[in-house]
Chain length 336, copies 2
Amino acid sequence: MAKNRVTITDIAQEAKVSKQTVSRVINNKDDVSDETREQIQAIIRRRGYRPNSIARNLAFRRSVYLGLVFPNVDIPLFVDVIRGVEHVANQNEYHILLKEAGNEGTKEEQVLTALEDFRVDGVIMVGPLMPTNALATLLNSFEAATLINVPDVDTLPDHVTTINVDSYAAMAQLTEYLVQKGRRRFAYLNGPVSFPAVARKQAIVDTLSQYGLQLAEDHVLRGHYTPEFGYEATKTLLTRFPDIDTILCFDDRMAIGALKACADLGRKIPDEIAIAGAHEIPFSSFTIPTLTTISVPRFEMGIVAAESVFDRLNNKPTEKIISIKPEIIFRESTPL
Amino acid sequence: MAKNRVTITDIAQEAKVSKQTVSRVINNKDDVSDETREQIQAIIRRRGYRPNSIARNLAFRRSVYLGLVFPNVDIPLFVDVIRGVEHVANQNEYHILLKEAGNEGTKEEQVLTALEDFRVDGVIMVGPLMPTNALATLLNSFEAATLINVPDVDTLPDHVTTINVDSYAAMAQLTEYLVQKGRRRFAYLNGPVSFPAVARKQAIVDTLSQYGLQLAEDHVLRGHYTPEFGYEATKTLLTRFPDIDTILCFDDRMAIGALKACADLGRKIPDEIAIAGAHEIPFSSFTIPTLTTISVPRFEMGIVAAESVFDRLNNKPTEKIISIKPEIIFRESTPL
DNA sequence: AGGGTAACTTTAAACGATTTATTTGAAGTA
DNA sequence: TACTTCAAATAAATCGTTTAAAGTTACCCT
């Protein structure tokens, strides 16, 4: 039960010194004799005193909080990014306030406002969806902000760092590879609206058109990051367009559903149909067949994001735009 | 950039009223005339005033924070439990402070102490590993605490709620089913030390012994929740003990590795070897063959955990010990 | 007109720390 | 002795809000 907690005043009284002397001891400052210091420390230990962080944060002007905003905890980046951020936050003795902003960005404003109320020192936001200029205004309230996967990086204020995965380049490279292997009829299972989702589709379209090919609109389906969607979508596509020879997926989870659908339909992978995913997950090298995927260094993104925030807070020079190169991992689901 | 923020004093000055009147307006209290109220609200809107939550929390004795502690963000329960907790926290206008305590529980004390410093109103802790009596002492600092998956529930203080999955019952049922299908030589891929890990193994041992069978110690390997471990462990086991006919896994991720290993070794599932996992993941119905698994209602656990905390905070009557029944989902990886 | 009451407002004191002066006392210097 | 210097400690103000108590009107009633 929340007991009546010991305060700095209690300690000061018992030690027969002023609160300020106690405060000095707590914060390891000078101007306290060794004798007094030890005596106060002994009392603190004995009484089990722990300074109230809320009061402390009010007096400091630092809150020691970092806001971490995801559209949804279900997105592919979530676990690894949070691991990276936690790691760096711990090193800096910061704490993480976690928020969901909704898959359609509906709660973004509300969430940022709440974080502002808590005077978080910095914000890391993954995949914001609101208009960039409105976002820029909201972000003005924070000393440091880092956005992951966001378009229009140029129009953002100076104190905002952006980290983008170069989704376009990776998908273009993968598409080109498959075209050179003789693939002609591409389909794309797209994810919920997001910046990388748009970029990747554009990469496919552009690359195909360089070869005089095209990605038909009815070969593109949009859905969630689930094997269920991948399964159903693949069945639908292959029923309607049996000559499809390549299915690119926004996410490995979808791709796993696609693999299963092909297995159920008796379509050979990769001979008849090539399949590739993205956002490597631990399972993609354990599927049957193993899955070709675009690997995004998610943990590193979390690390870099958090570091950029702390660099801002400490007025260190920081890059404003950070681009991360994904890597294509070729496995059995695409032709050699 | 952190600009100089508008305070309640600024609003009071501009409205030519006292801070307290403004406070009343903010908190929707009585004793303010409609005229004054509207006027103040207008000023608040115009100046973009937002009350400082830190100062607020200091004045209230509620922090509006919930601490959420996991051993690691990589554990099977993580994403769904957090979703559940977030959901309920949002409804109550609470905020989540997320903490990792380490897979060996090394940081548990440190983390709980930090949460105490922040005066979180309640704590939800998943899979604590420290000795129960030490834990009980630490939890005394909180008004409400809920533990998920913890042994020795009886020795915990009254204000602590525990939520346990009845891992023992489910695993016993599954084992019995497989024995009745004629399986005799069981192996078990165990997870990192945790309460459910211990309980499930015991369930296998006990059930087998009822049938005069036993789980040989060298048929039990321990490792992390990864397909890699499942893969390697399965290969090791099947090489050393080719007559194993059942591999039970602590987690679906391991089981997926086991499936792959059997495929690589040319062992037929389920005819030669039955495989089952636990903690249903989205993929387990998309593996080839599909995976039999013990399904734990993780999202509901998050919901229930958060609700129990709020019930405590609001002095509503609450159950002290909540037991959750997992469900066995039979699929292709075990005999019909 | 006096008293009572309701409707508002204001003053002042928390909340629990830090920060900014200021004071005290002892030691050093000329 | 008188003056400066420095360390050690204290007092008071501050952070931005709420809460409790006191104060002011205005209105109604007899």
